[in-house]
Amino acid sequence: MALRQRFTPVALLGAVLMATACTGSGNDRDPADAGETRQDGEYQVNAGVPEQYRAKALADGKHRAIDACGLHDPDAAQKATGDRGDEILPSTSGLQECTLRLHQGEFKSTWTLYLEVGTAYDAGSRKNDAPEQLGGMDVFVSEGEDGKRCEISKPLDDKHAVQVRASASNDTPAKPACQVLREYVTALAPVWKNMPKHGGGRTAPELTLVKLDPCAAAAATLDMFEEGFLKTSGPMACTARSAKVMPPQQKPAKGVGQPEVSVTWIMASDPAKLIRPGDNNTAREITVEGRKAVLSPGSYGCSTYVVWDDQIKVDQDNRAADDDLTQQMRIQTATCDTAEEVTKKILARVGRR
């Protein structure tokens, strides 16, 4: 029976998680297989990542363990805005993002609080933003032009941060965005000082896909590339491509993407909805290693969506009924011609049930 999470207005249960260091975690389980990541700060960078990208991959791997939705607190957001919590969801862009929406009633949205873990944030960014202390934390504040937007970044290391952005839904918010966000982040400080980890109990359902290293998945396709290598592009994404310098090519044909394989962990609605019955040019469904996958051609290549766990579903309030979200692998390839082979290689490596 599927676990379908529903209406739960912020039960603060007061669980305690022990932490020993900035990047530490209470979770001491070992990797179950080659693709699973330790979450105790000893993340192993995949051998396919070359030296110049290993520091970034190491940082991304550590940040993948942080529970983005766990860094929100709907109760604190309600206090900061004066409005009611509406919806909190991991992102369709990647599981490193989580969005909390607030409102004053149905169809009366007020604020959206976007949060991202491990976003690029270097010395140049820090130099532009205003240094402040909120709740005892050193953070950097960036104001929007109209009082409707504000961004606060808390560095995780010298190149990455947790970033939360407040965006007002109407032109004349009751409070300036930065006032709302300062109050919110101040209230979040005790949580942010010990970043909650996936599986630590702060959010439910647990997103089990994050235990898997996306580079372990992408590595399964390295033999398809001459001098293939891996590169991460965030905590939940890794790309396999060739290191061989190719001669300049003509503009690729419409619908053909880069000659590479990119994998990203996302939360999305049923990919079968991409299929239009009777149209052979649209998406098609396959089953690989017992998992449902949908191949969907697009303007810039092919996206394949693999449902990772169809038993854990998250209800999204602001959508049509029966449009639950599941954890999915999004696999992007140059065309759909190779997508099935790529998907089989990846799932054979990391997706066996």
Partner: protein
Amino acid sequence: MSRLTVAFAATTLAGLLAGCTTILPGTPKPEPGPSGEDAPAAGGSCARSTSPEQCVEWRNTQPKTGEQLIAQAKQDALITAQMLCSAVPAQVWDRYLGAGHYRLIDEGRACTISSDDTAKTPDGKLAAITEIQIYLSPTESIARDLQILRSRKDTAGMVTELSLAGKPAMRVGREDDADGKGPEKEELSVAVLGDVTQSGTLRIRQSMRPPRGQPAEAPVDRSTLDAMRDAVIGEFLTVLFP
């Protein structure tokens, strides 16, 4: 009916963070520069650079002058940048940039002198930031620049010839460099030997940008920049190319 769709079990933790206060580049509380002293800031200033890995700390270096400085620039761009950074004493920069200014060498060849980007106005808000970048090109001439810039439609209207401290100079600017919205800029090149056809060009960019945390295009009062522009050029030329 609305609903929150992910349940939360709070983990309220406090005070378990020993050793979590590493100072990062661009740190919220950098050491201010040594006003009134010609010495680098304690702990260095490169932490305040946009590219700390390409930054070299400023060290007070007796500058050469005239042709000797141009010859030095042909041999060693870094030492030349240190000399440019050392040319004008701290008391003078205190006057133009305020207390707490700092100096550093970007990318091994350009000297940057900046106002304190953590300085506050009397009402407690962060102040706008004024910055001077200076670089000596030993091989380029203004005549060459003028020829290239005036030959192109998109740049011909951006060039102005002028005289600064008695030397021929060239200003290159776009409309939005002086529109009262950040960043405001004055990009000047000076023919240091007094002849636009001779190699040896001092490139000086003076800029102002909104306080940290403000939108990049927030309003900037450029009267400070207008008031200091020629005077700053004069300070450098008096020492380096008397």
